[in-house]
Each structure stands twice: as structure tokens, then as C-alpha cells.
Symmetry: none
Subunit: 150 residues, 2 copies
DNA sequence: TGGGATATCGTGGGAATTCATGGTCATCAA
DNA sequence: TTGATGACCATGAATTCCCACGATATCCCA
């Protein structure tokens, strides 16, 4: 489970450390799968299990008719076509490809945000701005299990 | 089940003891999950079971249409993104991250309040004033199973 | 029922480990 | 050679672990 948020440095080689708790969540396979989000200037990622689950969901939804084959191919192009498997070394660092850094406007640092089954990578200030907006959204949302009820 | 209230010291390293009855409620996994509340200056937390249940409830509510995907992501960012898994050592202590202490205005001590499936962490005096307000509120509320009738 | 022994719990401090990050060294392609 | 790529070492700071103490609560047996 990907939890918590942390901001790490991006060095001259484009390297950054995958947060240690995330590495734990990834298990033995020393790699993450990351792709540019189609919804905004940030990256999305997860482990091998997530990638497989996403693939299967696309198949299943074509099978049960809730996703048109054309739309499925579009999903695959933007997800599987853009995603990369980035393995990290013994110190836990990956290299963020230049295209990824451009997409998310990353320069010297990156913020990893855990979202349970997946995570996102943001330019630190952009994430702060977004979070402020989300805080308001959550305050006006119905409760979840008695927690966070307004 | 998290029951009762107790106030413990926060030392120079930011450490505090998770109340022993809470540790019993947490089971084998020697860790608590804690996050800053979006509706006040205090922390909320629970065990692994609570975290998973919250995560699932978000999914389910998106599936049944009672929660918009955008609102779901906001929930995830503010809950899963802000939460941290804090494991405690053999003496039962966790380290409260500085950001958490700031959010709840904690300095030398913290009050753990059990709420059944979850708990809250308050600055002791803030909790006292809040409790006083709640006492009045409860007195004007219909009884529950004959308990707490004025 | 009293009173001493035993266990539990919270707290302080120091030692050992982990973590992020800068740097170096091979490997391979252009 | 140069430039990019990937793996491994070094380091300092931060974190986590473990042992010791004292106070409180619990137990047990007279």
C-alpha cells in the first residue's frame, strides 16, 4: 500500500530516490512502472500488480461491453504505450526520463504522493496548490465510515 | 476496539507512547496509521484494518455512483497521501512527524482518544475544551439504548 | 484483608542502523 | 574519444532500536 507524501531531490543525472516506504510496498521486484498522466502535468505509477490489474480491467470492460474496442486501444496506447518500467538500484534510485520530467515540469525535486494502490509524482509547488483545493473538496464530501464527517 | 482516553508525554525526539490498550487493539502488526484531520487541529488514526476499509469504501462508492471520481481522488490525496504508517518499538512508542505535531499544536504531550474503530490525537487542553462543548451537545440528544440519559 | 513480591507501563538516553544524496567507476554506442 | 547509462561505494544526518530506571498497578499468599 502506497502511503504518505515525500519530496526528494532530482540530481544532475535526473536521478531521484523512490521513497523507502514505497519500495517496501513494491516487494522484491526492484522496479516501478510510471507514465505521464493524461489528466494533468504529473506522473502516475505503481507496481507490477497495478499494471496487470489495469490491463485486465481494460480487457474485462471490453468483454462486458462497457468499453468500446476503439476506446480500449486508446487507453492502451496512452497507458502501456507511454509507461516505462524503471528499476531502482541498491540505494533506491530511479532515473526519470527527460520526457517525464518535461511533462510534470520537474527540475530539482519531485513529490511522491501515495494513493493506496498507486502513486503520483508532482512538482512540489504544484502539488501544494492542488492539495489546498482538495482540502476544501473533502470537507464538503459525505463521510466515510464516520471518519472525516463535517 | 479503541477505548478510553489517556495523555502521554512527547519527548525531545518527538516520541510518544501509544496507550497500551490501543496496542492491544492493534494486534500483531506493531504499527498505527495516522493522518491530520481535514476538519480540525487534531490527528486521526487507526489500525491497518481501518485503512483498508476506508480505501475499499472509496472504491465501492465510486463503483455505485455515490462518489464522483474527482471527489474520490481528493479523498485519497487527503487521506492516503497524508497518512503515515508509524510503527512502534518494543516499548510501544512512535515518532510523531513534525508536520503532524504542527497540525495539532502538540508540544510536550498528546491526548489519545479512543472512538471505537479509530482514535484521535489532541493537544490536551484543546481536547478538554472540546469535551466540555460535547457534553452539552450530548445532554440535548436522545438517549442511546438507555445509556447517557440525563 | 493486608502487605510484600512481581509484572506492566511510560519515559530517558545512547548505540546502531537506515536513508537520501553526492560521487566514482565500468560499459556500451555513437 | 565523448556522452550516455547503469551499478556500486562514501558520508552525514536522521531515524529506529534496545537497554535501564522508576513509578504504578496487579497479583498472591499469609
Amino acid at each position: 500500500m502506497f502511503l504518505s507524501t515525500s519530496t526528494n531531490t532530482i540530481d544532475a543525472k535526473g536521478r531521484t530516490s523512490v521513497p523507502s516506504p514505497f519500495r517496501d510496498a513494491l516487494g522484491d521486484d526492484a522496479a516501478v512502472f510510471i507514465w505521464p498522466s493524461v489528466r494533468g502535468d504529473f506522473l502516475e505509477g505503481g507496481g507490477e500488480a497495478l499494471m496487470k490489474a489495469l490491463q485486465r480491467e481494460i480487457f474485462d470492460r471490453v468483454a462486458d461491453g462497457s468499453l468500446a474496442p476503439v476506446a480500449a486501444e486508446a487507453q492502451q496506447v496512452m497507458l502501456l504505450g507511454e509507461a516505462r518500467r524503471l528499476s531502482y538500484d541498491k540505494t533506491g534510485r530511479i532515473v526519470l526520463p527527460e520526457a517525464f520530467r518535461d511533462h510534470a515540469n520537474l527540475s530539482n525535486s519531485a513529490t511522491f504522493v501515495g494513493l493506496g494502490n498507486r502513486f503520483q509524482v508532482w512538482e512540489p509547488e504544484a502539488h501544494e496548490t492542488r492539495k489546498a483545493a482538495m482540502r476544501e473538496s473533502v470537507r464538503s464530501t459525505p463521510l466515510i465510515m464516520g471518519v472525516e464527517r463535517p
